[in-house]
């Protein structure tokens, strides 16, 4: 009778415990702790890789971005003026990544351009209704843990991300997304079966600028240092590039504006008093 009372009290306590305070049963999840460092080229279409499956309209946008770079411009890659890279570009893992798993949310933390993070909700929720979300560069992610081999331990996190804010590109080469903002990103995140210090992120993008879904697998290696160095990257700290309107300028060593393109005119100085002129 006394044992039943103790068990009943313990069960009641468990049921009354808010979901957020449940501890993670680490035996059920893959070990994703530590610092993850990118392996390989971060670009989605580096030399030798298949070309992006863009529609003719958006191939023209990409070509224009490349032409702008060839002329000295930044090619409409929004992070050049310190906008967050968002999804999926942040999963190019330009700077090291940390993954924090809790029962209800998995957090992905990366400091690149700015301190950026993702929340992947694994609490069984559905997509939010109008008024229950705002668009963000990282998007709204819902995930589901999968036990592929039935051994009682999850080995894959399937994620879908929607509700993304524009502008974004896939990488620094300027591959564009459709301006309708209806990108959907699906991922399968898992440890390598032969080496659990290698992480794979199979990313598939659905976007109206594409002729078909586009899949690529990103890879990261776990830093073996037990206490790795975590840098913070603040783009605005010492960005050499300056945006005025839609034009890019480059700072000189002394902090003055310089042109990036041949024959680029100076910015409009109509609100500055020029020598010998009266202010309007």
């Amino acid at each position: 009778m006394r044992q039943n009372s103790v068990a009943a009290i313990a069960l009641a306590a468990l049921l009354l415990t808010p979901a957020a305070t449940r501890a993670l049963d680490e035996t059920k999840y893959p070990d994703l702790k530590g610092q993850w460092v990118r392996v390989g080229n971060p670009n989605w279409a580096p030399p030798g890789a298949p070309r992006p499956p863009l529609t003719p309209e958006y191939q023209a946008v990409f070509d224009a971005n490349r032409a702008d770079m060839a002329a000295g411009g930044p090619g409409d890659v929004p992070s050049w003026y310190c906008l967050p890279q968002g999804m999926p570009m942040m999963m190019n893992i330009y700077d090291p990544m940390e993954i924090v798993v809790t029962p209800e949310i998995t957090y992905i933390l990366i400091s690149h351009v700015n301190d950026s993070y993702r929340r992947i909700y694994t609490d069984g929720r559905g997509w939010p209704a109008e008024g229950e979300y705002v668009l963000t560069y990282a998007g709204y992610s819902i995930g589901k843990w999968i036990d592929q081999d039935g051994d009682g331990r999850y080995d894959m996190l399937e994620v879908e991300t929607r509700l993304l804010k524009n502008p974004r590109t896939y990488d620094a080469s300027g591959i564009p997304f459709h301006k309708d903002g209806k990108t959907v990103v699906k991922e399968q995140i898992s440890l390598d079966k032969a080496d659990n210090n290698i992480l794979h992120d199979k990313i598939t993008v659905f976007d109206n600028a594409l002729t078909r879904p586009w899949t690529i697998t990103k890879k990261a290696a776990r830093n073996p240092k037990p206490r790795p160095l975590w840098r913070t990257e603040a783009c605005a700290e010492d960005n050499s590039m300056v945006r005025i309107g839609n034009d890019a300028y480059y700072l000189s060593a002394e902090g003055q504006l310089m042109p990036t393109k041949k024959n680029q005119p100076p910015p409009d100085l109509r609100y500055f008093k020029q020598s010998g002129e009266k202010r309007p």
């Binding site: 670009n43 890659v77 992070s79 073996p224 050499s240 590039m241 060593a253 990036t260 393109k261």
Partner: protein, 125 residues
Amino acid sequence: MKLAALLVSGALAVTSGAALAHHSFAMFDQDNPIELEGTVHEFKFTSPHSFILLRVKDQDGSVTVWNLEAGSPTALSREGWTAKTLKAGDEVRLTVEPLRSGAPGGAWNVNKIKYKDGGPIAVTH
């Protein structure tokens, strides 16, 4: 090769400036690089990118300070660079991909810089 060695050597990450950026290094003239020789005015090991401010003596004897950009501290540290790898007064020679406008700015990478006497830059591997 052990994982740790791969990470330290940078072999696991492409360190080309074109691939590691919040902007593309394709905006610099990669087809027409130039050689610069000068004195380090300041080495900025900062975000988002590291910079060498290089005092270069022009042919007429005047001095121009070039603003030269490389990868982030994360990228450079993989090659053994630290905030103390270069200091004001160091004399260096480097290959630069210049701004297409001709203004005194451009991009460099750790594989294309040496001391003026030809010696390699001392890193901490």
